[in-house]
């Protein structure tokens, strides 16, 4: 074997020497680099918590998709099972440009399907060329148009559903139901006012955050969870509600009024069968209304001075406290002075010696004031409180007002208030408060809790509402005596309220409208509250008309009550008194609407 040339051998030795000297340095550098990398790795592993959570979020985002899902909102049904508030969907059409293989074909077909939404071919083509990952084309899109787009089966076109509350009966019971709107904070739907507001949580169901894996190998989870909102079955009957709203609309138009309210209630149970106010709105397009006051429910939110309807309450108080008997009389001079204020009868006429019944029949302010004075302020206001005047009824509707009743000791109260309150002036109630108070007279002295929800249905569980007593306002005997007086009032004076074949107990009211500067000149609130059949009350009705051309409740509201009561008697299958007694004599038992 030949030995390498000298210079090569020299070079090799030189290289070896060089390598021997450099190798430790190289190793040291590599060790340092490795240590550095290890330290970096360690520091990545042990970051501060906020940095860790950031990276965790990034990792989760890569592997999972999170979204907040609101459960389907509960449906609101009337008593007969007709939906008053339901759910539907609006759709959102978008495109992912990177997935569009044939832009021209997609543009042609998509623009044809979305013509009604102003989408042209050029819009779609521009969107495809934009290079953005996703572009919204149209929103909200009706279900039919969305279905058309879905049937095109275009790759890269996305259709996502957005839940929307829908009121299939339109304006029917709008103020009673309330409305649903999106909340900007979390993009979820929330109920406001009326039933939607009061039962907000029950109807909404449970909101959940759902995570879906982006990894194709992971099996999708079954996301069908029973977390939808509870359904509500109302005491409201759709047909009665429609009838009431139609009559109210007619009444407001006929009387040149600015608005009005009608409530129909079962005095035995406190169930509200219909509640309507005019003007109203369409809850499907509540965002278009110009006057936000329309969104409120005047039947529970607006206070008014009830006027002479209050005389039946005053009479009931005086009788129940034995301050007077039905046989008592007083001398009516046409005017009475209380607390330095002269209070006349509405017609300013003196009646002389007058019996108790005539105070209600002729609606005498002097008589009502005399009763209140005989009872005394302490007893009077205590009993007014028992009747629920000046406090909220607790009805299951959002936005109820408490009313206004000044009592002794209050800076706004003076001695004259005792007299004016006795005939419904200087005291403010909501329509619901007033009908609830008078319902005590119809219900043997018991005030029932007014309510609008008959049942709450949560999946397979049904929670029925039970009638509950709020208060015994007066004794049954006092209630019967006042009922007889109210029957006489209709028979002798309020003849427009009569319904052929039925004994009607009722009382009208005409109240002035208070303003910050006194009472509004020439304007009134005409009202009437009545119930029938008087000897076995099934229905109590309040009619209130705001600022009618004709001033008086007896002229404006009484005929509306009569028309409505006549139709209700047919709808609720309440036979006339003669027929009922005849049927009972034959051994029949007439159906009672509260047994339905």
């Amino acid at each position: 074997m030949a030995s390498p040339p000298y210079n090569k051998r020299y070079k090799s030795t030189d290289q070896q020497e060089s390598l021997r000297r450099r190798l430790p340095v190289l190793i040291a550098l590599m060790v340092i680099a490795t240590l550095y990398l290890l330290v970096r790795l360690m520091t990545f592993q042990y970051q501060p918590s906020f940095v860790m959570s950031y990276y965790n979020r990034l990792a989760n985002y890569n592997y999972n998709e999170s979204q907040r899902i609101a459960a389907a909102r509960g449906i609101i049904y009337d008593r007969e099972g007709q939906p008053l508030a339901s759910n539907t969907f609006d759709y959102e059409i978008g495109i992912s440009p990177s997935l569009i293989a044939e832009p021209q074909r997609v543009a042609t077909q998509l623009s044809a399907a979305l013509t009604d939404y102003g989408i042209r071919e050029i819009d779609v083509l521009n969107a495809v060329r934009s290079g953005d990952p996703w572009i919204l084309l149209a929103k909200p899109v009706e279900p039919r148009a969305a279905e058309q787009v879905r049937n095109l089966e275009l790759l890269g076109v996305t259709i996502s559903a957005q839940p929307r509350r829908l009121y299939p009966q339109g304006t029917l019971a709008a103020q009673l139901l309330g409305f649903v709107a999106g909340d900007d904070s979390d993009q979820l739907l929330r109920g406001y006012n009326g039933i939607e507001g009061y039962y907000r949580d029950e109807l909404a169901g449970r909101v959940r955050d759902e995570t879906t894996s982006r990894i194709p190998f992971d099996l999708p989870e079954n996301r069908q969870v029973n977390d939808q909102g509870s359904d509500l079955v109302l005491t409201i009957e759709r047909d009665i509600q429609f009838l009431v709203e139609s009559e109210l609309q007619l009444a407001v138009t006929e009387n040149g009024a600015t608005g009005g309210t009608i409530i129909v209630m079962n005095p035995r149970t406190g169930e509200i069968l219909a509640m309507a106010s005019n003007p109203s709105y369409d809850p499907n397009t509540f965002f278009n209304i110009e006057d936000p006051d329309l969104l409120r429910n005047p039947a529970v939110s607006d206070e008014y001075e009830p006027g002479s309807v209050m005389k039946v309450v005053t009479m009931a108080i005086a009788l129940d406290l034995s301050a007077v008997t039905p046989e008592d009389t007083y001398v009516d001079n046409g005017i009475i002075e209380v607390g330095g204020i002269a209070i006349p009868n509405a017609d300013r006429q003196a009646r002389g010696v007058v019996g108790m019944e005539q105070i209600v029949v002729q609606s005498l302010n002097v008589g009502a004031s005399t009763l209140a004075l005989s009872v005394g302020p302490g007893n009077f206001y205590e009993k007014m409180n028992d009747f629920g005047i000046g406090r909220a009824t607790g009805v299951d509707l959002e936005g109820e007002a408490a009313g206004t009743l000044y009592t002794p000791g209050d800076p706004n109260w003076s001695e004259s208030n005792l007299a004016t309150n006795s005939f419904g002036q200087g005291v403010a109630t909501t329509p619901l408060q007033m009908i609830t108070a008078v319902s005590a007279i119809a219900n043997d002295g018991l005030i029932m809790q007014p309510h609008v929800v008959h049942q709450i249905v949560d999946g397979n569980r049904v929670y029925p509402s039970q009638p509950s007593t709020l208060e015994r306002a007066i004794s049954p005997e006092s209630a019967h005596i006042v009922t007889d007086m109210m029957v006489q009032a209709v028979e002798q004076n309020l003849t427009d309220a009569r319904v052929p074949g039925y004994a009607i107990a009722g009382k009208s009211g005409t109240a002035e409208i208070p303003t910050p500067l006194g009472y509004e000149a020439g304007a009134s609130i005409a009202s009437f509250i009545g119930f029938f059949p008087a000897d076995d009350p099934q229905v109590i009705i309040l009619v209130k008309i705001d600022r009618p051309v004709d001033y008086w409740g007896s002229i404006v509201a009484a005929p509306i009550f009569s028309r409505l009561a006549e139709r209700l008697a047919i709808l609720l299958e309440i036979p006339s008194d003669d027929i009922r007694r005849g049927l009972e004599a034959e051994g029949g038992t007439v159906n009672d609407i509260w047994s339905r």
Binding site: P83, S86, F89, L219, A569, T589, D592
Partner: protein, 159 residues
């Protein structure tokens, strides 16, 4: 058994390059196993993803059907709204009844306010017979039944 093992040992010993062949065989075996396991894994993963896709499609279809159901319910409700029903009824010649046209009848025995229980349950409930049958008793019944049928057949054919 020992003969077999000897034969293999001899065969292996006689083979030239036996060391390399063994390594090659082991590598080939490992590769084969890896290919089989890989194929199984891929097949399993493909099945899983296919099932996942099918499930997603079914879930989407279910959601779509639920949405369609909701929309149909709404459509039905709108079609059955009171103004539409009134218009349709008027088209068909119906009109609202007047109070004088409503007739109330007495239905004998009907009481709308009665309770749910209308008669004493005990009186209407039949007493169930006491179950005291035994196997021997049942066999005896079957034998008697056969015997009775046989006799009836004889009587009918004789008569």
């Amino acid at each position: 058994m020992s003969n077999n093992s000897n034969w293999i040992q001899q065969a292996v010993r006689r083979t030239p390059l036996q060391g390399q062949q063994q390594v090659f065989a082991l590598i080939a075996l490992a590769l084969f196993m890896a290919v089989v396991i890989g194929a199984l894994y891929l097949s399993n993963v493909a099945d899983t993803s296919t099932t996942g896709r099918e499930l997603e499609a079914l879930i989407a279809e279910r959601d779509q059907l639920e949405q369609t159901n909701e929309e149909l319910r709404v459509e039905i409700a709108e079609l059955r709204s009171v103004p539409r029903l009134i218009a349709r009824a008027e088209e068909l010649g119906f009109r609202q009844a007047a109070a004088s046209e409503v007739e109330y009848l007495v239905v004998q025995g009907y009481n709308p306010q009665r309770g749910l229980t209308v008669a004493p349950i005990e009186e209407e409930t039949e007493q169930l017979p006491v179950y005291d049958e035994t196997l021997m008793g049942w066999l005896q019944q079957q034998a008697d039944s056969l015997s009775r049928q046989f006799n009836e057949f004889n009587q009918s054919s004789g008569g």
